[in-house]
């Protein structure tokens, strides 16, 4: 179809080095290159800061952004985040622009132009992730591209907030713009801005975000030209290419040191079907296999469930390099300047028709959630790959794949229309590490500088308030090192003229993050909907029985008035009326190592701090302690743990014997309706 060029989606690796780039690279001494590399990092960081300080979208303000400097060929050379998908997300749209518009007399690429794109079929992630791309010319010569990307929270799709639970094809997912000129001669074009405003629910945020992205691109351009003016344009051209080549070389050298082999991890996405489609739980399997050979990694997603008619489909360029960017830039090589070169040792295999390689018309707005599941599998595989290496300190257990994203809209207390999403996803628990616990409410694993936004901001920008925000008890995987606790929180419709609320998520019945090396997984999540409560009245009266945790909500159910439903965290979009409460939690990090090897004093510390329950201390960690003094009974703890180890040896059987009975079992058939063929999705 016109406008689509799927070949572009394959160009995720650095373009071949040109003769001009080779010549220019020779001009930089090692010392000059170090200075240049640092300068580019500072420029990207400055642009990233411009975005965070000026965007209108709450997602953007919370750090759902990225800024990047690209070579003239469109390869990411230096980035700052936000989210790695955003930092590298201009690669394919820029290559599209170069291929299709550079020599087109009706479009062209000139100094002062800025292009916009949010179309996944042109290389973006999904429609809410909107990017602008600006060519940087020095005396008429194209020397680089500037990119700024940010999640704008409404696209005019069938569901508000940009994430479309109910979409069954791309045609329900709102505004999708192929690369188009949004500015000429350094001026944003009002006709284009107006067109976009007309397609979405929140026109103010649409234009504010476009202006912010434009400003960030302008800042990159300004700074690059300062460097070109001082050191010459060849210095910039050569330096940018050298950042990619040096990054590639350094990454491959480190990969080569790791043990050759194949590492595998299945992930089971536990989802809830929309009531409008009949409801019910279903599994999606994401099968991750990483083969390491020499200086190459082959990530193979064969065995993943097939494409389906919901927006969980995900285009494979989201996995690589946007997804692998998280692992390589944030975790494996945080000491190396981030560029696309760090990830070019990865080859990706995804069969056609797979969830990660869907047909052109597939809905994809919730695709990042599937990508997070693939990432989760990668982290588990990488832990096994990294342990026997100099990179051992970099390994982690797994992050929660479920990032619960609330979407909401309505009229705020000043009468403004709003359509937005919740940033609580930026307060998930981080995984346990090889030598320490995971960080409690650490953040969002793909968004390393993200923030969960101030509760007061939500109060101002919507028509609801937080009833509570806290770190949840036992909301992580137990282990020798435990995962970090995920955020537990509740929204309360309060002084609300009109509001609707939904929550994208699942994982009500299955674990949310698998552990590693005997560490336990993080538990499932729940959503508690309390309709027509008297909690507003309780707050006004300063009632000490006003609940401040999900446990208290559950325990005080009938005394709170209204009707309580305990479900999975998935909440279909619907009215959120005065006094209504919706409480849920973000997943916690998974555990590392055998819980019986955890330092007993750390268990008691967590019990005292409300992060570990008495029940888990007794039954999982097998720690005996005095609840009043907090002192561990070392002798009794050693006895309890020894008793459990002996019991394991008594109750365990051989795998061969185990499989005879196990292989005859299966989950409920209804849960496999979108799974593919049981059990291996062949």
């Amino acid at each position: 179809m016109a406008g689509r060029d799927l070949d572009i989606l394959e160009r995720v690796y650095p373009e071949p080095t040109t003769e001009e780039e080779s010549r220019c690279m020779e001009l930089l001494t090692p010392a000059e290159f170090e200075i240049f590399s640092h300068r580019m990092q500072m420029i990207a960081l400055e642009a990233n800061e411009v975005l965070i300080r000026t965007l209108g979208s709450p997602a953007g303000l919370a750090g759902d952004v990225g800024a990047c400097i690209y070579t003239a060929q469109g390869d990411p050379a230096s980035a700052a985040v936000g989210i790695w998908a955003h930092a590298f997300g201009g690669q394919l749209p820029i290559k599209y622009i170069i291929k299709h518009w550079m020599d087109d007399p009706t479009v062209g690429v000139r100094d002062g132009d800025v292009f916009f794109c949010n179309e996944a079929l042109c290389g973006c992630v999904h429609p809410p992730d909107m990017g602008t791309f600006m060519p940087v010319f020095y005396e008429g010569r194209l020397i680089a591209w500037a990119e700024a990307m940010a999640h704008t929270t409404d696209t005019g799709a069938v569901d508000l907030g940009g994430f479309c639970m109910s979409a069954e094809s791309r045609y329900e997912e709102g505004m999708k713009v192929t690369p188009i000129k949004i500015a000429e001669d350094f001026q944003l074009k009002n006709d284009i801005l107006t067109m976009m405003e007309n397609m979405v629910r929140d026109a103010r945020v649409s234009t504010l975000d476009n202006k912010s992205r434009f400003a960030a691109c302008m800042r990159i351009r300004e700074r690059l030209l300062e460097v070109a003016e001082k050191k010459g344009p060849d210095y910039v051209v050569g330096g940018l290419r050298k950042m990619i080549e040096e990054g590639s070389s350094a990454a491959r050298k480190r990969i080569e040191e790791l043990n050759d082999g194949i590492y595998r991890q299945p992930i089971f996405m536990d989802m809830e079907e929309a009531e409008s489609r009949g409801g019910g739980q279903y599994f999606i399997r994401v099968m991750v296999s990483i083969e390491k050979r020499g200086d190459r990694l082959i990530a193979d997603l064969t065995g993943t469930s097939p494409e389906r008619a919901t927006s969980l489909n995900c285009r494979k360029h989201i996995i690589h390099p946007y997804g692998t960017g998280v692992i390589f830039c944030s975790h494996l090589f945080p000491d190396l300047p981030p560029s696309i070169g760090l990830t070019d040792c990865v080859e990706l295999k995804v069969p056609d028709g797979n969830l990660f390689n869907p047909s052109e018309d597939a809905a994809i707005t919730l695709g990042p959630a599937s990508a997070f599941a693939a990432n989760q599998g990668c982290f588990a595989c990488m832990a096994r790959l990294l342990f026997d290496s100099d990179l051992r300190s970099q390994l982690t257990s797994t992050y929660p794949y479920v990032t619960l994203i609330a979407v909401w809209g309505g009229m705020d207390r000043k009468g403004n229309v709003f359509a937005s999403l919740g940033l609580d996803l930026n307060a998930g628990g981080f995984p346990a590490r090889v030598d320490k616990d995971g960080v409690d409410t650490g953040g969002f694993h793909v968004a390393t500088r993200s923030d969960c936004e101030d509760a007061e901001d939500i109060d101002v920008l919507s028509s609801m308030s937080y009833l509570f925000r806290r770190q949840g008890t036992d909301n992580f995987g137990h282990g020798m090192n435990r995962g970090g606790a995920g955020l537990e929180y509740a929204y309360l419709a309060h002084k609300s003229p009109m509001m609707i609320l939904g929550n994208n998520g699942g994982c009500g019945r299955f674990s949310s993050a698998p552990g590693i090396f005997g560490g336990y997984a993080a538990p499932p999540l729940i959503g508690v909907k309390l309709s027509g409560s008297r909690i507003t009245e309780m707050l006004e009266n300063g009632d000490p029985l006003t609940p401040v945790s999900i446990q208290e909500l559950l325990e005080r159910g009938e005394t709170l008035g209204g009707t309580m439903d305990v479900e999975s965290p998935m909440l279909e979009i619907g009215p959120f009326n005065e006094g209504d409460v919706f409480a849920t939690m973000q997943g916690g990090g998974a555990g590392y190592g055998d819980a019986l090897e955890r330092d007993p004093a750390s268990v008691v510390r967590d019990v005292t701090g409300g992060l570990v329950s008495d029940w888990a201390a007794r039954n999982v960690y097998r720690v005996a302690f005095d609840r009043e003094t907090g002192l561990v009974d070392e002798g009794e703890t050693a006895r309890l743990r020894s008793e459990e180890r002996e019991d394991r040896k008594r109750r365990g059987i051989s795998l061969e014997e185990f499989e005879k009975e196990w292989s005859r079992k299966s989950p409920p058939q209804a849960s496999l309706k979108f799974y593919g063929s049981w059990p291996n999705c062949d």
Binding site: G261, F387, Y520, R648, K665
Partner: protein, 117 residues
Amino acid sequence: MARRQITEYLDIDLDSEMWCCNRCGAELVNARDNYKRGCLVYERDPRTVHNPVIEGEFTRSPHPDYCRIIEFYCPSCGVMVENEYLPPGHPITHDIELDIESLKAKHATAAPAGGDE
């Protein structure tokens, strides 16, 4: 060549080509096989690890119709080498399949005096 620690609880003895327990030293199974075949296996009700906080379908504990915890223990010392959360009947994962020849060659070159222990 000697033992290499491959995970928190697993070593490989490069001479005998066996998976071994890192904690007690017991030999488990051939290093070219799935180490889980050398472990004791136990299917655990997830409610004994994740305490249900409420009765009903959604309890904050994995639902046993949908999820079981499979634990793998060292048969000698009882340390939990690994576990998997799986839908009932899903095949056990062969999660580490090392290239033993490559590993031996690497350490024959890199560490002629012995491995990491």
